[in-house]
Symmetry: C2
Subunit: 215 residues, 2 copies
């Protein structure tokens, strides 16, 4: 018997994973709709599982919702890492990830609503864009590309501006998301001490092709 | 009978106003705690009024919560107008209001939690700081004090950064709120096209005395 067979989940484990995934998906819908206080019974009904099964997976609604948000942020983080894997300059990686996130708002409407619903608390999360942005900001400052006195303030400004961008794109559905994202990215780069010429070069770079990505 | 007597609310009207105010105060506590889906019964119990009375004032929980948020934003807006009434330069008024709002986060913890709970949606509100900031940005751009290509983008960046600031002050309770606020304000002024010298002058101005204000 190979190692892989030995570790293949058996039928019971697969069913448990399916139930957990159904709960997470249902929770994501509730969060996207801003229904953060929905009764557990309603969530299990939406997931089409029994109420009792819930407690095999999570101790509380809060624990489920936290897992549902973490999953969205982890998926976004992994996608960003994948799309920017070739970029070695931290400043360029920061801008590229920022410009991609702005473009995700319209392409991933449910994830976008989840992010706006969670709001500023996202900026303190150790998942998703925030920790990546902080690493890039610190590395770019060390490399002399950004001028940063207080990395936490820089992250608050950059991350807050991204939430403001998401809200603007949500409130004005006809607004060009790519152009607006690049405008916001330019504003943020200016606060990070870059000059107009450097900013223009960075926000004009071609982005990874998103059409081939299953969003 | 004087005009004032004729228009003085009678006992029934005063009781109605007290009930409405109790519902609004209870709703503000629920919003601050992030309990946006709390049952109406729980809210009326917290307000110490009967469930039936609720529907004399509001048609739904959403209507009550919207009124509760609007009241917080209107109160903040009026306080900001009062505190900045003497300032004629729109750029200076913008910065002064921004620096005051940053300082309100710690001085008004419940209102602060309400704002972070509502999150980016605040930036599209026609109450509170957002409409005042937009007016100031437009006037300052017209007066040649700010360089603004797209006022909505400028507002998204400035307002988003303020939410990021609120979250940072919440996540790091030992951080100096005045210094951090002025740092964020400086970042925002830079995105509005101001030079280092102009920024330093604006964020160093003495602020209205807040100790005399009943926050």
């Amino acid at each position: 018997m190979s190692d892989e067979q030995a570790h293949a989940p058996n039928r019971l484990e697969r069913r448990k994973q399916r139930t957990r995934a159904a709960l997470i998906r249902a929770a994501q819908t509730f969060i996207a709709d801003g229904r953060l206080n929905a009764p557990i019974l309603e969530i299990t009904q939406a997931a089409d599982i029994g109420l009792g099964s819930f407690y095999n997976h999570f101790e509380s609604r809060e624990e489920l919702f936290a897992a549902a948000v973490a999953e969205v942020l982890d998926a976004q983080g992994e996608l960003l890492d994948h799309l920017t894997a070739q970029i070695t300059d931290p400043a360029e990686r920061f801008v590229c990830r920022y410009r991609l996130c702005g473009r995700f708002f319209r392409r991933q409407p449910q994830e976008s609503r989840i992010m706006l619903s969670i709001g500023p608390a996202l900026l303190s999360s150790d998942r998703g864009l925030a920790p990546r942005a902080k690493r890039d900001i610190l590395a770019a400052a060390e490399a002399g590309r950004f001028t940063v006195d207080d990395p936490d303030v820089a992250l608050a400004v950059a991350g807050g501006a991204l939430l403001g961008l998401g809200q603007l794109l949500f409130a004005q559905p006809d607004r060009d998301d790519a152009q607006t994202t690049d405008d916001v990215a330019a504003h943020v780069l200016r606060t990070l001490g870059m000059t107009g010429r450097q900013i223009h070069a960075l926000v004009s770079r071609p982005l990874p092709d998103l059409t081939s990505i299953d969003l």
